[in-house]
């Protein structure tokens, strides 16, 4: 009964023939690895493994958000080369997923890969594409028309997407429940300077009310909304509150053009609504656990009407 004779190559030894390992078995093992482990390791093992790593069952989600971390941004990510890498990765995953891709969470992709994804991912439910300076209304329109099962959309810091895309998405995607459309901290952009190109920082959408109106008019089933640092006025906020009766969570951090009274009045009709208020002093630390903002800037603001309670 002694099996441990170190025979690895003979048929009767303890090293059974792995070539017999069924595809299903191999896929099972591969499914325990992260995307990165597969791309950097498993796919290079041998040809059958390369093939196995392209199995559609492994690609129901493309999530590389964890690689980007929460606070720190690298200037390297804002280069065209990096964007090409991300586009290339996303395109590969779309092909391999064979129509089953239901979640995309990435940053720095462009219209190029998103148009491709829209064409081939009718089952997309979650699309999170923050920090994509080259995603425009063009690909968002395609997404709206082809990915009608969309449930969650995050287009924060994507300044080439206008409110028109929001209307299209709202009208074509009746399952939409979560929308995140946060803008960068324009009150204290110091944390972004040197990482995010200045032209982009300055391209921040100014008309918060158009976006608010778009949301209010086309997303009646919305439950969660984040619009940090939007410049919307009480008029826009009212349109949102009236147009989204099921709203449960609303993040208005950094929306300095709203007063407490504005918020209270506009949200009167909504029960169970949890609101994250535009805290009037928002040091960078609160947001991103990094350096402090400049006190003097806020001292001045404390004197203005904006902070009337």
């Amino acid at each position: 009964m002694d099996n441990n004779e170190g025979e690895e190559e003979s048929d009767s030894g303890p090293g059974p023939d792995w070539a017999e390992l069924t595809q299903e078995c191999l896929t099972n093992v591969l499914s325990r690895l992260t995307l990165e482990h597969r791309w950097r390791g498993a796919m290079l093992v041998c040809k059958p493994w390369l093939q196995a790593c392209m199995d559609a069952s492994l690609h129901s989600a493309f999530d590389i958000e964890p690689h980007f971390g929460s606070a720190f941004e690298s200037s390297r990510w804002w280069t065209p080369e990096f964007e090409r890498k991300i586009d290339s990765m996303l395109q590969s995953i779309v092909v391999w997923s064979d129509g089953f891709l239901s979640e995309i969470r990435t940053r720095h992709c462009s219209d190029r890969s998103l148009l491709f994804a829209a064409e081939r991912c009718p089952n997309l439910q979650v699309l999170s594409i923050k920090n994509c300076p080259n995603v425009t209304d063009r690909s968002m329109a395609k997404i709206a028309s082809r990915c009608t099962n969309l449930r969650e959309l995050d287009v924060s810091y994507c300044y080439e997407i206008s409110h028109e895309s929001l209307v299209l998405i709202g009208k074509n995607c009746p399952n939409l429940r979560v929308l995140k459309r946060n803008l960068m901290n324009w009150l204290d952009p110091s944390e972004h300077v040197g990482v995010v190109p200045n032209e982009y920082l300055n391209a921040c959408p100014q008309d918060g009310d158009s976006e608010a109106a778009s949301i209010g008019s086309s997303m009646p089933y919305l439950e969660q909304l984040e619009i940090q640092f939007s410049k919307l006025s009480v008029r826009g906020l009212t349109l949102i509150c009236e147009g989204c009766p099921n709203l449960k969570y609303l993040d208005l951090s950094g929306c300095m053009t709203l007063t407490s009274r504005d918020i209270a009045n506009a949200s009167l009709g909504l029960k169970d609504l949890e609101i994250k208020k535009p805290n009037f002093y928002i040091p960078s630390t609160v947001f991103h656990m990094e350096r402090y903002g400049h006190w003097s800037l806020y001292d001045e603001r404390f004197q203005t009407d904006v902070f009337r309670i």
Binding site: M1, N3, N4, E8, E9, P14, G15, P16, W18, E20, L21, T22, C25, N28, V29, L30, S31, R32, L33, T34, E36, H37, W39, R40, G41, A42, M43, L44, V45, C46, K47, W49, L50, I64, H67, F68, G69, F72, E73, S74, R76, W77, F82, K85, S88, M89
Partner: protein, 179 residues
């Protein structure tokens, strides 16, 4: 009741089934346990096959078969314990997870591989699932070479092909992680 992998005494009072490993060793197993092995179940589902027939399992070593039987025996016991009661279900589930962890922990890489192939051949879904998870854990942060050795796989890429694949694929994650 739980003999460790050895042939149970036949006074179990229910039907038993005989399974023969690749080296000829015969294991007599309670019917309920034997039916956990889908391959065995299919064997008897065929018309006209009597339960006295010895099931030849040519691709399974006696070591592996012994462990498989031991696991399935415990699994059947635990399943019998759970029922409508939430608490009992929870406890049974925890015990089963403990059983799986113990089995995996004690095994060498060779042992795990042998068990996977056995579980695959015998078609035991649950066992296969946790074994694959264990293997995934063992190879996840290892080099390509290590994985090849672990699975005894030949690198069948030509140098050009390997270079090309590496270029297309492996660079993808470079530079994604924050500094």
């Amino acid at each position: 009741m739980a003999n460790n992998g050895e042939n149970p005494s036949p006074d179990v009072g229910g039907k038993t089934v005989k399974l023969k490993a690749d080296d000829g060793e015969i294991f007599e197993v309670e019917e309920a346990v034997a039916m956990e092995l889908q391959t065995v179940k299919s064997f008897f589902d065929d018309d006209g096959v009597s339960y006295d027939t010895v099931v030849p399992l040519l691709n399974v070593s006696s070591t592996a078969l012994a462990k498989v039987i031991q696991y399935c025996r415990r699994a059947v016991e635990l399943r019998a314990k759970s029922g409508d009661d939430e608490g009992a279900n929870e406890k049974a589930r925890e015990e089963r997870e403990g059983l799986e962890a113990e089995l995996v922990r004690e095994e060498s890489d060779e042992g795990i591989k042998e068990l996977i192939l056995a579980a695959n051949y015998l078609n035991i879904k649950d066992m296969l699932s946790f074994l694959c998870r264990a293997v995934g854990d063992r190879i996840k942060n290892k080099s390509v070479e290590y994985v090849r050795r672990f699975f005894v796989l030949e690198n069948d890429f030509s140098p050009e092909e390997e270079e090309r694949t590496r270029n297309e694929v492996a660079w993808a994650f470079e530079g994604v992680d924050a500094d």
